[in-house]
Symmetry: D2
Subunit: 345 residues, 4 copies
């Protein structure tokens, strides 16, 4: 059984997903593509030798008969309309983050999905598929460290481009922690405070970098998160969970141990793509497999909505310096399924 | 383009390969299976929902029109005849180790393959596809540690079953080091000596365990290899390359770092299957991809032959306690292609 | 040249100092001791075979002609009067923490010392003598990580006795970080906020444990400090300094690396005495050496005063949940000497 | 009680010992010195402000009434005569390695010491006093890794001077492993084989470097030792003990963990003096303490003799390429005392 997939948006991430579905994963086939830049859409069809139709527009693609399921990798502000359109025709949709650029937009998607009575939407928060985070979650759930009390974490990039704005520290960078930490802890956030340390001289003038985000969860867990996007030395994602009886750290990526020039060293990655490349594979394979079974295993529309609400609160906390409350509606019954861990073959 | 694959032998490893080709990898399809135990062959076809014909016999399967390429995962002593049969009909064949149970058998395969003028045979030494060994090879080839002078390595299993014989320490266990180290070093062996340390009390009476194997290469590199198959504590594969200016170690598998009960610890695997599971995926995907292009990227029939000759010398060294010379014929021009590293998608 | 030392207070820490001065260090001799428990004072003189006079009272001991310098290891609330008495007679004094139990008391000592025009007082903050903290300070000052921006640190004890009160988390436990971090960063604190994570079920009912202390320094460095005195797993002191171009961590104590029972592990200490035992030796040796030269290398009375003021602010922040300002007077010129690092012999 | 010490030989190591006894350790006092270079002897007396007499000759110094005990740090070939002279007058003597430059010389010392009936001689193998080796010995003796079966070890120097000869790889470098490993394992050697890997291009022409030494012990433990004195990258002492149920590694020296320039690194020492500097302190303090009690805790004359015999066999094995037997006489009853571990104060 093969899942026939239409891809809306053939930029960098869209092309990556097309390549992995075509050359590396099992059970999916690209049958339709579209992009505002039609030449780009054509190019990927040709270079990957795809047996795929090129559509003028995402809405046509979504309605096309040969399309079983949709991947939305277009420009962020267009996500909402394409996801809603896919829901309308009852087709499963994998949408890269953000699900929508406003919490209201996410809410609309949640309501539309619930109205169909079918699980249709998965959001592309790939960290949940990282073997490191999964191992960490397993350790927490094994009880080896007792109940979690504190999380110390850090999201560090070597540098960011000039186009990186202060808000992107939250909506592009920290958004990954927002999603993965509540999944890791099976919890939600209730408040956030953001403090600004001395600014690094390596950041552009307009950018306060680093930041410290202090999140509080429903269970009272405190999260200390460092965001530092000009740290120079590497792309480094750290996560330490302090439990009642022990402490667990996200694994460092595996690396050759070198003794050289008076140093015992391992490599730190510098490119974020290398860090989660395997997660993207696992994520998409899991999406294909679960979609073929009519299920959604990964981050749901509800998770996309929670990320949006939390991210809005973070932006306010950053602006005001105050402790900002994070109020979520009750999670709809519809989303009360446990995450099914991807089975090993 | 899909590679239509016939599988001879549906025991544990055969079933694993069928499952990964069917559910996890791209570009391959199981179209035919056979096993001396026909019920077992039927069972895998049913449970995996394969669109595959069940053959009475490997030779029939090899000749079957719908079969593009063959995977040999039958009982070791039958490998030689099936590989030769595949070569005879000019079909690519992936053969689990050993290629043949004698050096002479391997030699016959080498000659048959050369006679066809086509690269057809890949042997299932999966360690070459391990990301750790690949990273180690990259470090060596980068010049970061200078020319290799010494290798310290260890192959440790927690325990072995009662059926494990003294020779299996070489032909089942150490055979992986034999293949991967000459690939790692771009070198061949010229002599071997084996010494027996004090025997562990945890080994069965008939078994000398551990062993130390001392290999010398053409370039004069000295390899100290520990084989310890009752080490109790885990499945642990170590490899340290001492170069002129630095030293590089095979990465430890990535693991959560735990602070608990007065210990700072990471996990050591206990099951060998967990250690190289990803290598099997990469190996088979690479075999499918290169076979579709008419190439062999992985270990060749020649590599299978060298492993057999080296393994015979190790057995003699183990028996005699002497330094045993390892004489290889000159590598045929046919096999002088470089290993092409699997591209990242 | 030998420094003739009188010790006031022969409890556990007093006895330790007597033993190290007598049996392990060079240049010091215990010539006088006193304690409210005279039997205890006698006992240490006898068991250590000291050639030392036993005094009825600290003030007599301070005035005794044969006493060159005084070590104050009596009950905390008595420190102030003994240190003042030593200053009055112009004798160097090493006082275990706290210098006085109020900031006012410390201030009085500072003023008395300045009035004499001689450096006389060293306070027993031994972490500055730890080889780990010294190595960390060297790395910071080498410029290898650029200017410090953030410090993540943790002070974890396995358990605390029933007598441990909420305030002790600051005045007994965190006081060490208060002293060592401003020394490490060459900085002072301007504000503090304390937040309370979910309480561990392993703490006594009256005790909020863990705590997170957020300190801000004059230079704008932000310190995230975890205090967790019932962490169960060990005595664990962590300190990570995030700089503009790199990050440096306090070394883990050196330990045998063990592969055993499916774990790769090193030991975590459980007894705080083991962690800083060498620091006490170095501290006292440095005090003897510098005292013989008429200098004070270690923490001064001013450092004792700053610790007291900061600790008061922490207590208020803990009580109120507010951000509390920390106001220090300008450091007197008298104390503007750099810390002289203990020379290696 | 103070041990009055005479030092024969005021070269680098002699001066170091004088400084540590004078400024850092407890219970010893330098009262006499001598050196073939009298100006050098004078210089150290002056710069260290010693209350010490300068003798024309080691024999005079040994006999001097004010000298309780002797430290021999003169040129190696003179050690034997001075140690014998000290034994003759019944004075305890600490002799830097080698005890004598021939096994026969060592034997003579052993016999002379036994004849006095008093333990008088300690040899300066300081590694037994290293906290790392002690921790490793504790782990072995705790039973945590079961009975030792194999030792993998390495002695690596960044470079050696032009004056370094092939034999020095054994008598100056590997001699430390020879002593410390038999102490670690409570065992003696029975045979040795030495193999020569490809020579590093960084060694001087006359020098075969690296070497691999294969030692066999009475208990059947096999030791694989790498000697590599031009390894470029650092001074690196490795020791891994493979036991029946687990494996223990000598701790790496404690170091700041740095994240910088895409590397997670710790420092490797480059100067051998830094590696064992604390061991020298502990060694000498223990010698002072035990000498004051009339005991010898450290390496004995017998240990010096065994080192000499083993070292001779290594030289023969290196020359011949053969497996060379190591025959020791039975250990005299006189030396059957257990090593008393230095107590913590
Ligand atoms: Mg994503
Ligand atoms: Mg294989
Ligand atoms: Mg103290
Ligand atoms: Mg020595």
């Amino acid at each position: 059984m093969v899942l026939k997939i239409g891809v809306i948006g053939t930029g960098a991430i869209g092309q990556d997903h097309i390549r992995r579905i075509t050359n590396k994963l099992s059970g999916g086939k690209i049958v339709a593509v579209t992009d505002v830049n039609k030449e780009q859409a054509k190019a990927i069809v040709e270079t990957q030798n795809l047996d795929a139709k090129i559509y003028d527009d995402g809405h046509e693609l979504i309605k096309a008969e040969e399309v079983d399921a949709v991947v939305v990798t277009s420009w962020g502000p267009t996500h909402e309309e394409f996801v809603l359109a896919a829901i309308e025709v009852g087709k499963p949709v994998f949408c890269e983050k953000p699900l929508a650029i406003t919490a209201e937009g996410c809410k609309k998607i949640v309501e539309a999905e619930i109205a169909t009575g079918k699980s249709l939407v998965q959001v592309g928060y790939m960290r949940r598929y990282d073997t490191g985070y999964r191992a960490l979650k397993n350790v927490i759930e094994s009880g080896k460290i007792g109940e979690p009390l504190i999380v110390h974490c850090a999201h560090r990039n070597p540098t960011v481009p000039d186009t990186y704005t202060g808000d992107m520290a939250i909506v592009d960078t920290f958004i990954h922690e927002i999603d993965v930490l509540r999944w890791l802890l099976n919890d939600d956030y209730v408040s956030v405070q953001i403090v600004a340390p001395r600014k690094t001289s390596n950041a552009l003038e307009h950018l306060q970098d680093p930041l410290i985000v202090l999140l509080e969860t429903k269970q009272g867990i405190r999260i200390n998160a460092e965001i530092f996007v000009n740290c120079q030395y590497g792309y480094d994602i750290q996560c330490q969970v302090v439990g009642e009886t022990g402490i667990a750290n996200l694994p460092e990526p595996s690396s050759v141990v070198l003794r050289s020039e008076a140093k015992l060293s391992t490599e730190i990655l510098v490119d974020w793509k290398d860090r989660f490349i395997d997660s993207y594979d696992t994520e998409l394979q899991d999406w294909i497999n679960s979609t073929l079974k009519g299920e959604v295993n990964g981050p749901t529309a509800w998770d996309g909505y929670v990320a949006a609400v939390t991210s809005d609160a973070c932006l306010e906390a950053k602006e005001s310096g105050n402790i900002v409350q994070i109020s979520l509606e009750k999670r709809p019954e519809f989303y009360n399924k446990n995450l099914v861990v991807v089975e090993k073959i």
